[in-house]
């Protein structure tokens, strides 16, 4: 598999004052499931936004299909279209992503931007509504949707553009277990359909379920390690170091326990 995304020595600072990313080198292969994990504030969302060309690195280079992506190259109309139709971004906060009057308008916005015929765009919108189970919401405005429905519409609004790469920022955050389960199944199906998935999350169970390759960001905003999810999730010392698991004390009946806790894998008790 070829690398579809390549980041070389990427650095980013907010307003030249607050460091968000330092010397990030990584490559993502076509059709891969890739997760960027790290504690809050480690730079996951920033990295994802750089990958979508929404903000631009202060140092380093970003290549998409061997084409450099920068503020300058994205000013080229041809390249902008090439890039935007291939890379889709699902924001953590669906509210900011939904800006059209109704759900159907949301789904049509992207294809119409790509100058697709209206009939073809409508076909896509209805097919996407079917798979996401939101056909009954098509005439609703976004502010009348629940959190889970908003997330489905946000994903749908990107899927109608049929991107090769899907960047998902904390996709399961704040969703109920059933919607989370639906999303995991959807992501796996999309990946099997050939889509490259890049997910920014601190939800270790999601990483385990999707069985991804993982880039682990530290609180110092550097790339701590890249590897298979099973290797990284097993490495308790490493996860403790980057603050993704913590020491936890609690009672079981009359006994007090101390253990490492991640709300996921590590719940090994030792008697005190």
């Amino acid at each position: 598999m070829d690398e579809i995304i390549r980041l070389e020595k990427i650095c980013y600072s907010y307003y030249e004052k607050i460091l968000a990313l330092r010397d990030i080198n990584l490559g993502i292969k076509e059709g891969e499931r890739f997760a960027i994990i790290g504690a809050n504030g480690s730079g996951k969302s920033t990295l994802l936004q750089i990958m979508n060309g929404l903000i631009h690195q202060s140092q380093g280079k970003y290549f998409f299909r061997s084409n450099e992506v920068s503020e300058q190259t994205l000013r080229d109309k041809g390249f902008l279209r090439f890039f935007r139709e291939r890379v889709g971004y699902v924001f953590q906060d669906s509210d900011v992503q939904l800006f059209c009057p109704t759900v159907l308008d949301e789904l049509l916005y992207g294809p119409l931007q790509l100058e697709m015929k209206e009939s073809e765009a409508l076909d896509r919108a209805f097919e996407v509504m079917q798979i996401l189970n939101i056909a009954n919401l098509k005439d609703r405005p976004s502010y009348m949707l629940s959190g889970g429905e908003k997330k489905r519409v946000a994903i749908g609004s990107v899927l109608t553009m049929n991107p090769e790469v899907l960047l998902l920022d904390e996709p399961t955050n704040g969703l109920d277990p059933r919607t989370q389960c639906f999303l995991v199944e959807l992501m796996l199906a999309l990946n099997e359909a050939g889509k490259t998935l890049v997910i920014a999350t601190h939800d270790l169970s999601l990483v385990d379920e999707l069985h991804t390759r993982v880039a682990l960001l530290s609180e110092e905003h550097i790339l701590e390690k890249i590897g298979a999810s099973e290797d990284i999730l097993k490495d308790e010392e490493l996860l403790l170091k980057v603050n993704l698991i913590h020491e936890h004390i609690h009672y079981h009946g009359q006994d007090i326990h101390k253990h490492r806790h991640s709300h996921y894998l590590f719940h090994k008790h030792e008697m005190k």
Binding site: Y14, N52, G78, F79, R86, V128, N162, K195
Partner: protein
Amino acid sequence: MKSKVPSFLLERPSSDSFERGKRGLKMPFIEKGIHHLAYVIKTGYIQWETASTDNFFQRIDARIKVLFLLFYVIIVSLKKDILPEVLIGAFVFILTLISRLNIFSLYKRVLFFGFIFGFLIALPSAFNVITRGEIIFPIAHLSRPYSVWIYRIPEKIGFTREGVYGVMMLTSRVMNSLALSFFVLFTTPFSEIMKALKVLKVPDSFIMIVTLSYKYMFVFAKTVEDMHLAKKSRLAGRVSNTEARRWIAGRIAFMLKKIRMRCEEIFKAMLGRGFSDDIKIYGVEKLRARDWVTGVAFFLVGVLFLWM
């Protein structure tokens, strides 16, 4: 789930290459505007955060600084000549230098707001249609004078000496007031200013409104910026100005809805934590000798300006 995936999602793009556009895309006005808004607000925040550095004016108690600001803004408003205004401006500039503030950043804001709220607003009053007097810059010559409502439009239209002087006075007052305000804001952490206002018996409801507005500004800036990025991520070409304006109008409506909902949530959260219309403050220290000396010095200089 796999069997349900629409067929178009299985299609790959026909080509891995692209044709270069004939013309580059310019940054649309909306993007420039949003970037600027977010930048101004967030850099403002950083400056407020760094207001606690250990330089001359930063070390002075916030109460002295708030009184200094009020006293000097009154002096600036009372003066009727350009010279004292220039001297007050120079005095604030020297204080800015001593406090090691970023002169460019501070005066960029002073000039920008001073130009809009001082010069531009006052400019029409320089015409002889509004301020009578000796014309020093003639602009137009009509065949005869006209009377419109309460105004009399004379034959010769132009800027009068008295009008230009009035514009200069108003602009210098606005700029001096802005320079004083920014100077105090850049050298005093926000929480200290609020504490000082409370000690100086400013009503709690006013302090509460200012505090909440300040906090909400950053939430607002972040939301606006994120909404813009979300749109940008789905744009594959240039957006016409009409479409951009339509989008802004829609988003403003959304923001108003969100603001209303957020206000209700915040108020409930405040009630939940025992809010009772009374702001409690802690850690109010006594004024030190340094604060008294600086306060007296500023007072004497202010009296000197008043006397001039």
